[in-house]
Symmetry: none
Subunit: 221 residues, 2 copies
DNA sequence: CTGAACCTTAATAGAACCTTAAAATATAAA
DNA sequence: TTTATATTTTAAGGTTCTATTAAGGTTCAG
């Protein structure tokens, strides 16, 4: 997933970007409202996150401009808690969600994912996660080919990447429900996928959560 | 879209319902606050529209009750008193929007649509307490991973957080009822959890109440 | 001061997980 | 069809992590 983030508080922005990238969300950031507007026109983002209070051009201005130009990219507004009215204003201007500052980054991630999970993106041919580009059509992950099972496993992990998937779920999903009990299938293919991620030198890793399952994470420095 | 509308002014209600239904919004209406509350509990509405001034039970009361019961359905408040204070009151109680009477029905429709566009808040998967953000789905507490037992212990403390849980209860809950007597299990894991809370620099602590049990508390400077 | 309740830490054992390679199977090429 | 190649399945042994155990320390009430 790729987002645009317009925020003038550098310190906050740094922290947020750090956490988002770890979740495999690639972030383009600017602190300038006008530049933000220009960038927002490009149809390359899965979501735009706008701070309301910006020098020169407010988040609302940006929102209004892009909606006037019929740009449908989902927008999440950020605003200080005191400005309760902003919520209403933002939603009326066509924002898709609203988050009061201060917010937990996990909350932002949840909402980003909720927005990007909407139908349109579901059958996308190319899925991004961190520095990965997975092409569903010809089963390539960056420059590597995946086998069928590897690809299915990756796709499983890629849908709702913030949610860990357990072995049983993966087994059912890929090998079918009759095939119960052989967790080793999953382990073997997790191992294969890891090997390919390593070969790609990707920041993305498969994290094991003992007794629970697996999820994708993207290392940040 | 399906909404619940609680309004005692029959004449107004008729007019509003007429226009909403014409816009494809199906409306369930009641003029009774208590019945409104009962209906509001059902998780079948995309939005609830509450008039503030109602006989017996005010819109604020309904709002407060349903939010206390963790019902997340979006709520729009309607009030003749266009004073800023009511607005703040409503929004603080967990209303999602506010509309002063008299209002244009088109305005109400716009706001209903804005709200239903917004993704539902993640519920139950994430539990907040103080500055903590516990994700049950992948067993993370803020940026730290928890082990299975740590997670179960935290979940136990997190349910009804102001009620202290004794060791026996925790033991039964996590280790099973046969496993009586080994309070040390609990002590060890309380210790582990405390260590992680410290690592997180959290304001939240586990308080020991001698001969009674443990509870979570959040330090306020 | 004393004992009970509670806390902390380190060591251990076993479950869960990982990796690898060989065997079986499917797929493609000749 | 036969051969070659790629992928999946099976199996075995190795590694890591967590729950448990145990021992000794600390705090608190009487």
């Amino acid at each position: 997933m790729r987002i645009l983030y317009v925020e003038d508080e550098k310190f906050l922005a740094d922290a947020v970007i750090h956490v988002l990238e770890k979740s495999g969300i690639s972030v383009e950031w600017t602190d300038d409202g006008e530049e933000g507007l220009n960038l927002a026109m490009k149809p390359i983002y899965d979501c735009i996150v706008l701070d309301v209070m910006l020098p020169k051009m407010s988040g609302f201005d940006i929102l209004r401009h892009i909606r006037e130009r019929e740009i449908k990219t989902p927008v999440i507004m950020l605003s200080a808690l005191s400005q309760a009215e902003d919520k209403i204003k933002g939603l009326n201007y066509g924002a898709d969600d609203y988050l009061a500052k201060p917010f937990k980054t996990a909350e932002l991630i949840a909402r980003l994912q909720a927005l990007s999970r909407r139908p349109a993106l579901q059958d996308e041919k190319v899925i991004r996660f961190g520095d990965l580009y997975y092409n569903k059509e010809n089963r390539t992950l960056n420059e590597l080919d995946l086998t069928e099972k590897e690809a299915l496993l990756l796709e499983t992990l890629l849908q709702e990447p913030d949610r860990a998937k357990n072995k049983e779920y993966i087994l059912n999903h890929i090998w079918g429900s009759d095939n119960y009990g052989d967790d080793n299938y999953v382990e073997v293919y997790i191992s294969y996928l890891r090997k390919k991620l390593k070969k790609l030198n990707s920041k993305v890793q498969i994290k094991t959560i003992r007794n629970l399952g697996y999820k994708l994470v993207s290392k940040v420095e």
